[in-house]
């Protein structure tokens, strides 16, 4: 796992390595073990290395036998041993033991189509010197980041935006459409990023630049063409377990020790149990506990530790810890966030790094693939109710939602029903997500009149509609909900702000068996009732994992990972200190100067939060979104990132 960067001179002028070198330096946290630079004609490639596979021989940028191809690669190709054997059988000769070299030889063999054979998580650039052609690719789901921009003369790319910002021609002007998207969907819609001039290669896409111009091409997207059921439930569960076992097995390929995250929930318990089953022996696990019982899951974490006999290390996160690290977290997320949840994971990756580990397996992706999130249950109850709108009994099921949210549970029935009745009918594109998105959209009341004016002609929902796959409207509501979660929130928030960015801030690589594309394809082909059976989430996964994990964990209902929110920033820590940046960044003059928000609205929000009246989800999101936006502007303006 590493950081990559590079520049291609579009006019063919010889490249120099100075700027690329500075870009690599900006990525040192991703790859502290080594750095590399190669200049070839119009192209400069750079690499910051976190050595995991072929520690001695995997130096990058790497070339092929005749030096006609050069690659800089961030990620892992988990099926590299199988691919290597096939390539060797076809006459390819390898100089190293690394997975990087496998990509090069596969590209020689198959060109741009090589990506179809890869099982892994990647962002790479291949400079094809003979054809004067640069090929960039990003993995199917969007585990690894890849940003780029065109200046007047160059294509500039990197793993993180802060590296692009080393280029003097890259502006940090905020993309207001992306801001609108984040303040609706919690994530920007790729290729948008929060900066107008910076784009990302979307998940499942490649970008090719040569003398004829540049082309962005989709090679994969999640599809929910449910196959007619041919397997029994038992056979489906067996098939799933076999796939997950193999996905975990190949994700243990590493020349350094591999650890695991434990949340106390089903998913990470399953991946950890599978690791123990495949490679019984010493296993280090890591988890976050919270001082506040409302968020803490350490009881369940300890059950798994005892059951699987792992060597466990835990960090306890306080409200003060979140406030303290939040500015650094935003420096790494490089986008506003509506939740503080990335902060404890930032602390966790620091713990992993300090424990001498570089790689962890986690349970990420199971909720999207197997219907674990409450949003699926919520939509199911709403759809059930919509079929008989006059029913008195059906809306009573709404009380089954969000059992861990006290404020929702104490809501009067009529209001609970009023809130969840939001949105058009079940057949509408965004039926499943309408309540969440409409609630989040209220945060835009915080925008300054200038920003509201600039966004007046922009319809964020129409923009999303224009990007949906053909036939989307004909899918059932469950498939549509899964697609929206998998294509927007997963890459744009879960795998980035809560994933790559906070893990790689401390040079820790996450690996995700549930996001193996074979598991993803299998899950997508399953009928919805095998995922959400009545209101039992991840039904098939629970069946497949029965016996692997403690009964207490298997039986418990889903509790999403959450962290304390707005109160962290206005409550003194144990030493009586308040974070000093909050007042400074939310001061009326500063808010007016930065121009995104209305100073009066921010003042009202801050006063309400200070008074301890920021109790609802929307107010908490508003505070975190506003503060993180102000922090982002500050970090990128002040330090040059």
């Amino acid at each position: 796992m590493c950081g990559i960067a590079g520049i291609l001179n579009l006019d063919g002028a010889p490249a120099t390595g100075d700027l690329t070198g500075r870009m690599v330096s900006a990525l040192k946290h991703r790859g502290p073990d080594a750095r590399g630079l190669h200049v070839d004609g119009a192209c400069a490639l750079g690499h910051a290395r976190l050595s995991i596979i072929d520690v001695a021989g995997g130096h990058q940028p790497m070339t092929n036998e005749d030096k006609s191809l050069w690659i800089t690669f961030n990620g892992e190709i988990f099926n590299y041993l199988e691919l290597r054997a096939e390539l060797e059988a076809r006459g390819h000769r390898f100089a190293t033991q690394s997975d990087t070299e496998v990509i090069l030889h596969l590209y020689e063999e198959k060109g741009d189509e090589c990506v179809h054979d890869l099982n892994g998580q990647w962002a790479f650039a291949i400079w094809d010197a003979r054809r004067r052609r640069l090929f960039l690719s990003r993995d199917r789901i969007g585990v690894r980041p890849l940003f780029y921009t065109f200046t007047s003369k160059e294509l500039v790319f990197a793993s993180e935006i802060k590296a692009l910002c080393e280029h003097p021609a890259v502006s940090r002007r905020i993309d207001l459409k992306a801001l609108d998207q984040i303040f609706t969907f919690w994530a920007p819609l790729a290729p948008h990023t929060i900066f107008e001039q910076v784009k990302e290669v979307p998940p499942g896409h490649s970008l090719c630049v040569d003398d004829s111009g540049h082309r962005v091409r989709e090679y994969w997207s999640p599809s929910y063409e449910v196959a007619s059921p041919t397997l029994s439930e038992d056979r489906c569960a067996e098939e799933l377990l076999a796939l997950l076992t193999d996905a975990t097995r190949i994700r243990l390929r590493s020349d350094v020790p591999v650890g695991a995250y434990l949340s106390g929930g089903l998913d990470s318990s399953v991946t950890t149990a599978l690791i123990k089953k495949i490679a019984d022996g010493r296993l280090r696990t890591f988890s976050v506990a919270f001082e506040s019982p409302e968020f803490d899951e350490s009881t369940y974490q300890n059950d798994v530790v005892t059951h699987l006999r792992t060597e466990h290390t835990q960090i306890t996160c306080t409200n003060g810890d979140i406030a303290q690290v939040f500015p650094d977290v935003i420096k790494h997320t490089e986008r506003p966030v509506v939740r503080t949840a990335p902060a404890p994971l930032f602390l966790l990756s620091r713990l992993v790094h300090e424990s001498g580990y570089k790689v962890v397996l986690t349970g990420e992706g199971a909720d999207e693939m197997f219907g674990g999130y409450d949003i699926f249950k919520e939509a199911k109850i709403r759809a059930f109710w919509a079929a008989q709108p006059q029913s008195v009994k059906r809306p009573q099921l709404l009380k089954r939602l969000y059992p861990y949210l006290r404020n929702v549970q104490s809501q009067p029935d009529a209001y609970l029903q009023g809130f969840f009745r939001i949105g058009a009918g079940v057949s509408s594109c965004f039926f499943s997500h309408a309540p969440r998105w409409q609630m989040t959209s209220r945060l835009k009341l915080l925008f300054s009149s200038d920003v509201q004016g600039e966004l007046a002609g922009y319809d964020v929902y129409e923009d999303l509609k224009s990007r949906l796959p053909q036939g989307f409207e004909q899918w059932d509501w469950f498939s549509r909900a899964q697609y929206l979660e998998t294509s927007i929130l997963l890459p744009g928030y879960i795998l980035s702000s809560q994933g790559d960015r906070v893990a790689m801030a401390h040079a820790v690589e996450g690996r995700f068996p549930f996001l193996d594309h074979r598991v993803v394809r299998f899950a997508a082909s399953l009928p919805a009732p095998l995922k959400l059976k009545v209101l039992n989430e991840k039904y098939l996964l629970k069946r497949a994992a029965a016996g692997l994990i403690p009964a207490s964990v298997a039986r418990r209902s889903k509790q999403p990972y959450r962290a304390p929110e707005a109160s962290c920033f206005v409550t003194p820590d144990r030493r009586g200190r308040l974070p000093d940046y909050v007042e400074a960044l939310l001061a009326p003059d500063r808010v007016a100067q930065d121009g995104i928000f209305n100073p009066m609205a921010i003042g009202q929000l801050l006063a309400k939060t200070r008074a301890g009246r920021t109790v609802g989800m929307r107010d908490n999101m508003a505070f975190v979104a506003a503060l993180s936006t102000q922090l982002l502007i500050d970090r990128f303006k002040q330090t040059g990132a």
Binding site: R442, N598, I602, Q604
Partner: protein
């Protein structure tokens, strides 16, 4: 209708649920349909009414017919205040 109740309710809703940005709010606009009150907001509204106007909001009162717009809330508060006066008198 007592305009001071109306104004107080309106001011609370704008300040508390709309970050002070409520110039466009009409008195008969539905809080739920417009997304002004989220899934927990009505509890805040009830707390305000009980503290500010000294009324008691019973469980049966917690319905949109009483609490879903500025004008409905104002009428509800006035009715409750009258009931209280009758009992006290």
């Amino acid at each position: 209708m007592d305009f001071s109740v109306n104004d107080d309710v309106r001011a609370f809703v704008i300040q508390n649920f709309m970050f002070g940005q409520g110039a466009q709010l009409t008195d008969d606009e539905s809080f739920l349909e417009a997304g002004i009150i989220d899934s927990t907001g009505v509890l805040e509204l009830v707390g305000f009414l009980e503290t500010k106007f000294g009324i008691v909001v019973a469980d049966d009162d917690l319905v949109p017919a009483n609490l879903d717009s500025v004008v409905r809330v104002a009428r509800f508060v006035e009715r409750k205040m009258k009931e209280r006066s009758r009992i006290a008198g």
